[in-house]
Amino acid sequence: MVLTLLIVGIPLYWVLSNSFKTPDQVFRVPPLWWPESFTASNYPRVFSESPFGQYMLNSVIITSILAAIKIVLGVISAYAFAYLRFPGRGAVFMLVLAALMVPNQITVISNYALVSQLGWINTFQGIIIPLAGVAFGTFLMRNHFMSLPYEIIEAARMDGASHMRLLFRIILPMSWPTLVAFALITVVNEWNEYLWPFLVASDDSVAPIQVGLTRLVNTDSGFTDWPLVMAATVLTVIPILVVFLFLQRYMIKGLTSGAVKG
């Protein structure tokens, strides 16, 4: 138990402690467990000496737009798959499930070709749109919708409720926990997405935080300002960890709902 905590905790502690060291203390042999003199100056330097603020803003923009698109699409398509009868419904749903199995990395080449043809390299839409397919969310929400009592839906239909009304007044209020789980997993995934933005955003003006972080390490001068990088790493990780600590219950629920049922 204690060992587990140590294995998880030490790397995190190490990053944190280095972010408070002065450069000469970082390269001590043997390494210092505890900074000799604390300096908080690395943190302001992150913003003054690198475009980190810009990266952060980009990440917030990309993540929020993507998450919004994915949640709306996910809910609407799950609704269609759960409650509408249209020809080929089963087949289309199988296609969605199959998409879950196809890693992004395999489609990267053709997508990149397409995006550059459209002239979308280094634009937000170039980063966002190819990532906006929602297989996981559709699957999760549809399973949840299927588990809702059918009588209620039927009754609402009898009353002549429109689709929108049915969705917002009746179905969604019964679905908050699943919806939160879906939203949360989406946000975390998009915030951490790496390969695609890394390829499309060669420019600092649209690069998200993860890509920016690696740029701080691989500077043109070949010199890496480790304390600064460590401080930046802390700043990158903290928003997600905070969100996670408050809402992990939902997230775990979302991740496990597909698994435990087998």
């Binding site: 390269f27 196809v102 990088v229």
Partner: protein, 278 residues
């Protein structure tokens, strides 16, 4: 109302495009070269060339991370399934790395593994052992990225197993207790079979995750040392396409990878079905 389907266009388009790699079997502008890329790839495989290194890296990396995270995840989940103090804390701690970005983790561990002033070198140094050269020796480099990935993803397998354990029927265990079954027997005869669906689900999802690793490898080693010491198939797709400008070959690797995935998944699903009919 059929609009619901149209929102799927990007997704379907993605699938359609992924099959397009068949036709981009040559550098820009696409020129048809038939199976040249494939013969090159298989040549490298049979003669222990480049593609053999990459494939074996991929196998080592994936197998270690899949088996490692599942075994450790199950062990931890069983440990925490009992009522102990601090359970919630440990659960959060183990799961936390899973939500941290690979890029950030890669950077942190790059620093931890540094042979001169890294944390590990410091620990080994205090024991009087010299740190292995994690960046120059391909085997150690592969070990390093594998461990890093394991650290990040252990929490996922753990959380899923824990949920499965907590949903288990208590009667089974009561019956086993009445029969005076030993702990090991209970584990083998009751717990493992009960977790079969979970294990199956995990083996597929964890494998997909492992096969997709790009950020950690890129940040820590750039696929090196010595050219391709830690290059996995995904990384090779990137390298060939965007560094060596051989999109056709990259697409070939991607396609082969996709086929391998497909075969493995089908095999797993089938073995699962057979397990159910027994």
């Amino acid at each position: 109302m059929l609009l619901g389907i149209f929102t799927y266009r990007p997704l379907l388009d993605n699938i359609r495009l992924s099959f397009f790699s068949w036709n981009i079997s040559s550098p820009n502008p696409p020129k048809f070269v038939g199976f040249d890329n494939y013969t090159e790839w298989f040549d490298g495989l049979v003669n222990g060339g480049h593609s053999w290194t990459v494939v074996s890296n991929t196998i080592i990396f994936t197998a270690t991370t899949v088996i490692g995270s599942m075994v450790l995840g199950l062990a931890l989940a069983m440990l925490l399934d009992q009522q102990i103090k601090g359970r919630g804390l440990v659960r959060s701690a183990v799961f936390a790395p899973y939500v941290i970005a690979g890029a950030a983790i890669g950077i942190a561990f790059q620093f931890i593994f540094d042979p001169r002033f890294g944390l590990i070198s410091g620990m080994l140094g205090s024991l009087g052992i010299k740190s292995p050269d994690f960046y120059q020796d391909p085997n150690w480099a592969l070990f390093m990225v594998t461990m890093t990935f394991l650290w990040k993803n252990l929490g996922y397998a753990f959380v899923i197993y824990l949920a499965a354990l907590q949903a288990k029927p208590a009667e089974l265990y009561e019956a086993a207790e009445i029969d005076r079954a030993s702990g090991w027997t209970v584990f083998r005869r009751v717990t493992l079979p009960m977790l079969r669906p979970t294990t199956f689900f995990l083996s597929i999802t964890v494998m997909l995750n492992s096969l997709q690793v790009f950020d950690i490898i890129y940040v820590m080693t750039r696929g090196g040392p010595q050219g391709n010491g830690t290059t996995t198939m995904v990384f090779q797709v990137y390298q060939e396409t965007f560094v060596n400008y051989r999109a056709g070959y990259g697409a070939t690797v991607a396609t082969i990878m996709f086929l391998i995935l497909l075969v493995i998944t089908v095999l797993q699903v089938r073995s699962m079905d057979r397990g159910n009919t027994k």
